[in-house]
Symmetry: C2
Subunit: 316 residues, 2 copies
């Protein structure tokens, strides 16, 4: 009896679903066809969905990205996640995620109410800033999370804060410090001086932090860019460093190391767990362990990456 009823009910649900999704009829029409009230027709359509009698298949590369993003968001409890299609021609290409980062910055900066945006390191972040749509928002504030004086004393080539300020008319707070100080004491002294304390204070109130994620291996960007020496890099690797965010090295579980260069870093340390929306932007197989660690350690609560990287992170 029950089975018979259920079966005929599911049959009707399937019919209703077919008529609704495939034939494109309204529920009113379906109700008339199946000789039931509109409310019942609606229930049948719902049932068809609930029982998974009907499935949706999105035949488009984007579909996979959307699903990966949803899974990452779920798995790591993220406030924001975007996955862009990997460019087969250039697997490490930062263009795709930069576009999304720029979009994120755009929409954040579009707000009329003052917002504070903090920027970290990374090619994606730099490229993103270049793509931000100019807009006049003098009440916003842009703050740097990392020192923009490189080892040789010159201002860093990558003045992302300044560039973004140019495009928005926002006040900006570069960090007028070298990336690394020569000793822990000196670092501690410097971060207390007025201009730096001010930058720290602004950064602490940031509404959005956009940071790159670097891997700590022989091709670590912090080394290539000359911020840390080969020896410093190797020491950090020995200490378990697997990735870095704004120069702060962390291990495979996303714990910030309390030694080595981390003691002399002037960068504003990541909050753990990230309180403000902190979006990591990174792609590439080499960065997978670093990204995964940052996610697990909750150094970041948002991620913008590409399809291949997303898949690799989820498959670990």
């Amino acid at each position: 009896m029950a089975a018979e009823n259920d079966k005929s009910r599911l049959d009707d649900a399937a019919r209703a679903g077919w008529l609704y999704f495939i034939a494109g009829h309204t529920q009113d029409e379906i109700a008339k066809m199946l000789q039931v009230s509109r409310a019942s027709a609606q229930r049948l359509v719902s049932l068809c969905l609930a029982e998974r009698l009907i499935t949706f298949r999105l035949e488009h590369p984007i579909a996979a990205c959307m699903e990966l993003a949803a899974r990452l968001k779920e798995r790591f409890d993220l406030v924001h996640c975007e996955v862009v299609p990997a460019d087969p021609a250039a697997p490490q290409a930062v263009a795709g995620i930069a576009e999304r980062c720029a979009n994120l910055l755009d929409s954040t900066l579009r707000s009329e109410t003052p917002v504070i945006v903090a920027l970290g390191t990374g090619r994606a972040v730099r490229a993103a800033v270049e793509r931000v749509t100019p807009i006049d928002r003098p009440n916003h504030q842009i703050v740097s999370l990392v020192g923009n004086i490189s080892a040789d004393g010159s201002a860093s080539f990558y003045d992302t804060v300044g560039r973004l300020a140019d495009r928005t008319g926002a006040r900006h707070y570069p960090m007028p410090l070298p990336f690394l100080m020569s000793s822990e004491d000196e670092r501690n002294k410097m971060v207390r001086i007025e201009p730096i304390a001010k930058v720290k204070a602004v950064a602490a109130k940031a509404d959005l932090r956009l940071v790159g994620i670097g891997q700590m291996d022989q091709k670590a960007q912090v080394h290539i860019d000359g911020f840390v020496t080969r020896d410093e890099l190797f020491e950090m690797m020995r200490l378990g460093a697997i990735g870095e965010i704004t120069g702060w090295a962390y291990d495979a579980k996303g714990r910030l190391l309390k030694a080595g260069t981390n003691k002399r870093l002037t960068s504003i340390p990541p909050e753990v767990p990230a309180k403000a929306t902190t979006i990591g932007a990174a792609v590439g197989a080499a960065k997978v362990p670093a990204i995964a660690a940052a996610l697990n350690g909750r150094l970041i609560n948002g991620l913008i990456t590409d399809e291949a990287t997303a898949r690799a992170i989820l498959e670990r």
Copy 2:
């Protein structure tokens, strides 16, 4: 440029479609996520559908039936078509289509305004009548399209009109004639007498005709039931008869034959093309040519059959 734009537009459409159909968000939410107006979000979802980026798959036997019905309806310009799942255990089973026929009768008879229902021959029609839900509709009229006196002079076992009248309280008009008269002259004489003319007049105004379809082969129901002799059957077959509706034999193109038993038939002839809603009800591989011919000749403008038969008709 254009291609680039189109591509990104399709990407967005895919995103919107994914968020709408798979993630189950509202278009308002999607609009916010994609940073567009709700109207645009709606357009993206439409586009996703229009571009067939998304496809619906109904994993249920009913889905195939629905599609077959839609194709039959389209192909033969039918006012009504239903296809029921074939019962693998009993390929010739009439139960499925009888249930649908009964449902059709139910909904027709449910009307408060007087309707005229005409019934033909066939196991499905008989079984359908047995399943009709009793309802009190004294103003309806039920009329028989075929004589209910069999060759031996007794009232036919299959008094469908009477049974249906019992269940509805409707007036009914059986046809008090033998199926076949002994000659054309006699037939012409009989159909002019008052009670028969009355039945014809009512039948001509029928809102719904429900008829079985018989094949004209050695297992023809009209022969098995003893209405036509073996010789008569063979003669009709020689004349090209491939099927019959209410006894009226027609050829492979659905043209009524003007010879043989058709000259002595008392049944009310099918209107060609069918004016009233005329639903054929039949299943079985043997009946496929007969059904297809009836459809092509527009002897019927509606069909209730099963999956296997529907498929065979479409594949001819």
